[in-house]
Subunit: 404 residues, 2 copies
């Protein structure tokens, strides 16, 4: 039986629980004498190419547990999207360091990198077991019921909208909250779980899966405002018009692009400001406020779903078990069974790599500006326990006595 | 001994714990047979003028406790800043409903309203006990060591910057987080408590108490970025230049004003976007992101400081005790004793009404872009227990093997 090093890395946008997966993998790996050392690559695959490794073999269990409870990627991450040459350099470094196992935690771009490295190793006949561990707040990986990181981000969005709706109820007006999600509306849709009583917001939810129509939007906002005297709106940063162009891009003029050629949607309040200005000028409503949840929703300290924590830990541990038992390379996937349990499987890397899962029609209301009960049922168990509950005064109205 | 109704209202911006003060007052009031009914005015003093009262006398204790744990103002709030005529209408309504006690929870504008109503009652020789109960996330009331609402908002800011700094560490660049606070920098300054290890952000903190100098700002950002390869910045929405004009106003061109004549600073991402654009264009740094914490910081569900919850409850209860025992009208104030305990007193309304407390020099570092250890010592006990702790990997570097 071959022995050697295990190399693990974290890629893409951080989440509240990606370190759980790291620690799950590291602790599990340390159980196997065949795994001589556990190396963590700093700043994703860039760290592999640069041989920027730290040895996690000796890190104490208590220290690792503290890391697991810390949001963001403890090893550092990268937005690099490696091409074939880059992947060859990754493979060369892994080989030079005697790696027999390569685990990479991330989204669909990360899965793609794992896939290319896996193929390079196979071409050379080098025995490198490559496993992709899922992570993304966007919940946009195929083959998965949901992905680690999404439930905690969703919980943040729920707590944010619960508070924003209470605030808006106290000081009525229109509130627009812009939520992350380039191509998939899951995270924005999660805002629906903030509703407890009838009349609670968000009253309107706009997803990238449906073309954003300005006239329809204004008409829907007006309708809610006329009925309730207020309106709370959840909007995905990725909403796009019928031509498929993101609103935030159309308004930005010059767009900032990342290494993947993706336009930067986050880290700017422009979309919320634009929508607020439209509502103010077109509907004549005075009190209109917009917030962009930005980086808080993926990294806020102290808001993780316990279900998410457990599952993120599990997928890291499961990845090592799969790696050590041999067999084909693959991507760990979460499946749901019953109501509510999960099990894990290993699926082909090509089924996940570079592909994007969007919300299906059964999750989106016919209006196009809300979710269905099926989505709420899907979401509820993911949010975890001890979700804050908003309460409302019921007290009876007092009769008026003044003659006016 | 006179008996009658007690009327309570909530004014100004909601907080995470203003309902604790409401419930503290209501439960305490129900202990006194002299207080025949407890009326809540909906939407602040506007509800008093409109006789929009609900009877809280019969609300169950469990229901009230659920309200206490809910952020935002359960009675509704108002931004109205009553003039003398308005206050006469308030008084007329209170009198018509047989109110003997008037409690109003809010900030310095609210205290001013209580003061005018108190004077009106005195002029008429009507026995109305008027007490102001402090609340504001800005922490800007005179006579108080700190004000209920601030500790919970500060906790949100700390957890947000803790997460944002971890995120920025994983994907280095410049991050700008804009925090509420028109005239007082306390809430922005609280971000300093997010630092645990050396090198943790926020690395720079800009407060309204110090003139914002664009050149100094850019030079400081460059200096941190050159040293660490990243930079996390906390900026108060109220930062202003040497002429005293708020940056967000100067850039806004047309400014949206509220009923108090205050320019709307919150509910827009413009300041963060402006600062990011400056850093991008002047320093040539590519990855620059800005978030505006907006309404989340005052209403986010599930992020209250337990110390804040207790104190907010206490000031509501204390207000009723003071009201029932007679004596002069006043404003409840929190005083700190020892390390760390508080007691409460009643101070003159004029000492609080319409006045603003800013951070004193001993809390602001000589650089003008950080806080002092004295401020951190002041803040720490307010944040409450079980604050999330960020951990860091220590693992030793692995030697390189590739020749490049």
């Amino acid at each position: 039986m071959r022995s050697g090093k295990l190399v693990i890395a974290q890629g893409g946008g951080p989440t509240a629980v990606i370190n759980q997966s790291l620690v799950g993998a590291v602790l599990e790996a340390r159980r196997f004498p065949r795994i001589e050392r556990v190396y963590g690559a700093r700043f994703g695959v860039r760290g592999i190419v640069n041989e920027d490794f730290i040895d996690l073999s000796a890190e104490s269990r208590a220290a690792l547990e503290a890391i697991a409870a810390t949001p963001s990627a403890a090893l550092g991450s990268t937005r690099d999207k490696p091409d074939l040459d880059y992947c060859r350099n990754i493979f060369a470094s892994l080989k030079a360091h005697g790696a027999c196992w390569f685990l990479y935690i991330g989204g669909n771009d990360t899965a793609n990198t794992v896939h290319i490295v896996s193929e390079e190793a196979a071409k050379e006949g080098y025995d490198l077991r490559c496993i992709h561990i899922p992570k993304t707040i966007d919940n946009d990986l195929l083959e998965n019921d949901h992905t680690p990181g999404f439930p905690s981000a969703a919980r943040f969005v729920v707590q944010a909208f619960m508070g924003a709706d209470l605030d808006n109820r106290a000081l009525p007006g229109v509130y627009v909250g812009v939520v992350m999600g380039r191509d998939s509306g899951f995270l924005t849709a999660a805002s629906a779980a903030a509703r407890i009583f009838n009349g609670d917001g968000p009253h309107l939810i706009y997803l990238p899966e449906r073309a954003f129509d300005r006239a329809k939007f204004l008409s829907e906002v007006k309708s809610v405002y006329d009925r309730l005297g207020r309106c709370v709106i959840a909007v995905s940063e990725g909403v796009r018009d019928a031509d498929g162009m993101a609103l935030s891009v159309r308004l930005a003029g010059k767009a900032v692009k990342d290494a993947h050629g993706n336009v930067q949607l986050s880290g700017s309040g422009a979309l919320a400001d634009l929508l607020c200005e439209e509502i103010r000028s077109e509907l004549g409503i005075t009190r209109v406020r917009g917030d962009t949840f930005g980086y808080l929703q993926r990294s806020f300290a102290g808001c993780a779903s316990d279900v998410d924590r457990r599952e993120a830990r599990d997928v890291g541990e499961f990845a090592v078990k799969q790696a050590i038992r041999g067999g084909g390379d693959g991507s760990v996937a979460i499946r749901r069974s019953g109501d509510y349990a999960v099990d894990y499987g290993l699926v082909k890397l090509v089924n996940v790599a570079g592909k994007t899962r969007a919300m299906t029609d059964d999750f989106i209301a016919a209006s196009g500006s809300d979710v269905t009960p099926a989505f709420k049922k899907y979401l509820r168990p993911l949010l975890g326990s001890d979700l804050p509950q908003a309460a409302r005064l019921r007290g009876g109205a007092v009769a008026k006595v003044l003659k006016r």
